[in-house]
């Protein structure tokens, strides 16, 4: 089974700081990591490949340094990595991103399954997976917890929605997004790290995948971020003083005033 796993490099959660004044992300000192949700998609892909044979390719669209994310994914069990990088991709929203990823996937040759994370920790829309499926003209299933091969070209999946878990039989090819916590992502192995170091990572550009320029980047993105701000709470700020008993008494007074007691 040929599997493609889409991963995104994101700022690591504990390194991001925000400028309250300007309402923007402070870029200095930001370190990057593989989107934590994507590790579950990657593990699902590696496990399935081990079971059924075939190849697992990781694909990412991002700046040149996103190559690191691909190497890390290889150290965690992927066979190959492909980078999609071009200035023309910058500013793509999810509609443009799914278009670019789909064009690249079509270029990569035959595949049976495309895996995505459930969402990212930065953009956090969860829209790329379903959008990508539509671009590729195949069905999508989100919130997938497990995948099992029934027979050639046919899988059984568990997907969890609000009310419970559905077990479904589905025909490949398709796109799935993997639920957080669906499995235990393995850590990079020593052999994996060696392979990752030596791996050749091809870089695809707008031209090499033959995208329509009007459908990519800022111009190809119908949504625009018109402003950003750091959320703040307004109103009174007061620290209650004294011994715990005095603090609690003050608190009781506040509850009374608010009509709760």
């Amino acid at each position: 089974m040929n599997i493609i796993c889409c991963i995104k490099q994101v700022p690591s959660t504990d390194s991001v700081r925000f400028d309250r004044e300007k309402g923007t992300l402070i870029r200095e000192g930001v370190t990057s990591e593989i989107n934590p949700y994507d590790l579950f998609a990657l593990e699902a892909g590696v496990a399935l490949k081990e079971q059924c044979g075939g190849e697992l390719t990781v694909l990412t669209m991002g700046p040149p340094q996103a190559e690191e994310a691909l190497r890390e994914a290889i150290s965690r069990g992927a066979d190959n990595g492909v980078l999609l990088s071009d200035r023309a991709f910058a500013g793509s929203d999810t509609l443009a991103t799914s278009y670019i990823l789909a064009k690249a996937i079509e270029k990569l040759g035959t595949w049976d399954l495309v895996l995505c994370g459930k969402q990212t920790t930065d953009g956090d829309t969860a829209q790329v997976g379903p959008g990508l499926a539509q671009r590729l003209g195949v069905p999508c299933a989100t919130c997938v917890e497990s995948i099992e091969l029934i027979e050639e070209g046919k899988v059984r999946i568990n997907r969890r929605l609000e009310e419970g878990t559905y077990t479904l039989a589905c025909q490949l090819p398709m796109v799935m997004t993997i639920e957080m916590g669906a499995n235990s992502p393995r850590i990079p192995s020593l052999r994996g790290k060696m392979r990752a170091k030596k791996a050749e990572i091809p870089c695809l550009t707008a031209e090499s995948i033959g995208v329509d320029q009007v459908k990519i980047g800022l111009n190809g993105s119908p949504t625009r971020v018109s402003s950003t701000y750091v959320p703040e709470f307004s109103g009174k700020h007061e620290l209650l003083q004294g011994s715990p008993k005095e603090q609690v008494d003050a608190l009781i007074g506040i509850l009374r005033e608010a009509g709760i007691l």
Partner: protein, 335 residues
């Protein structure tokens, strides 16, 4: 006339998800501001019978797409069908709750229509000049709020978190038109075959977090069965509900539905009291609508104090014991 505002209603097992009413209430306001009609579209294997309730929340028209092929849920199918009718009728706005289903079929639909989709909105308004829909949403785990517009393409599409708008019904007699649509043959295929369904074990009653006047929240600083038990009593004494941060629900000290925040419940009580909570953005985003925020944390530099109206720097356990004692006496005196 083309145009109009569509709310995609969410009906699961004959229950309407309350986010549908919240969106209809907001939709009413948008419909007045834009002078466009408000419609509710309901789609699924068994959705008929709720039309009157939807009228009561302001829908002027209910579009019903009921068909067995819609079970099991398949986002590709739902998204393509909604896109099919949207192409034909050209609504200017399509909104849905940010439920698991809608978060999956709305991107399919937006891709079919080659338009923009804003995820997990926490506010919607109309730009007075351009009349465009201003869609405000959290990114970076709630550390940043972004206002998104879809300037040139229509429809403007968004999913909206539940709990951010209040549902207000109109009078009992509100009515409207019902229109039933059938699925075109070329779309009438479901690629999924249902083998089995296992309902959530937590079939126990989920408290009404959204409607709660008082929310007590437990953080990692009080993540022990003993403290959780005391906080449960405290929430009962105050007539409220007990919620938690993600580490606490991850540890299994409280059920998953008790998690408050970006990936959990959005609450807007009169009083929120957080014990041993640092105040990470993914959590605080869930309490933004609160009137009075009280935080108890032993670390004076904990970010939660930036949000709190009243703070207590100290050991949460001590405060809990003291508060419980006072409240027991108070309540005892009243009984």
């Amino acid at each position: 006339m083309q145009g109009g505002i569509w709310i995609v209603g969410e009906i699961r097992e004959n229950n309407i998800d309350p986010v549908t009413f919240e969106l209809l209430t907001k939709g009413r306001q948008l419909s007045e501001e834009l002078g466009e009609e408000l419609a509710c579209i309901i789609i699924g294997p068994k959705v008929k019978g709720v039309e009157d309730e939807l009228f009561r929340y302001g829908a002027k028209q209910v579009i019903v797409i009921e068909d067995e092929v819609l079970s099991p849920f398949c986002e590709t199918l739902y998204g393509e069908i909604i896109a099919h009718y949207a192409r034909d009728r050209e609504p200017s706005i399509i909104l849905a709750g940010a439920t698991e289903r809608a978060k999956a079929f709305m991107p399919v639909c937006a891709t079919c229509l080659e338009t923009g989709l804003t995820a997990n909105c926490m506010d919607l308004s109309i730009d007075p000049d351009s009349k465009a829909l201003l869609q405000t949403r959290p990114a970076y785990g709630g550390n940043l709020m972004a206002t998104i517009v879809c300037k040139d393409r229509r429809p403007q599409m968004a999913t909206v978190r539940s709990g951010v708008f209040k549902a207000v019904p109109l009078d009992e007699n509100a009515s409207g038109r019902v229109e039933e649509l059938s699925i075109p043959d070329e779309l009438r295929k479901n690629p999924f075959v249902l083998e089995s369904f296992k309902p959530l074990e937590e079939a126990e009653d989920v408290p009404d977090y959204k409607g709660a006047e008082v929310v007590i929240a437990a953080g990692r600083g009080v993540a022990e069965p003993e403290q959780i038990k005391k906080l449960k009593e405290l929430s009962q004494l105050l007539g409220g509900v007990l919620g938690a941060t993600r580490p606490v629900t991850d540890m299994g000290l409280l059920p998953h539905h008790a998690q408050i925040g970006q990936t959990g419940q959005i609450v807007s009580p009169t009083l929120y009291m957080g014990f041993g909570i640092s105040g990470a953005a993914p959590h605080t985003i869930g309490i933004q609508g609160t009137k009075i925020i009280v935080a108890i944390n032993k670390d004076p530099d904990a970010p939660i104090f930036k949000f709190a109206n009243y703070g207590i720097v100290g050991n949460a356990e001590e405060i809990i014991d003291c508060l419980l004692e006072e409240l027991r006496t108070l309540r005892g005196g009243q009984a």
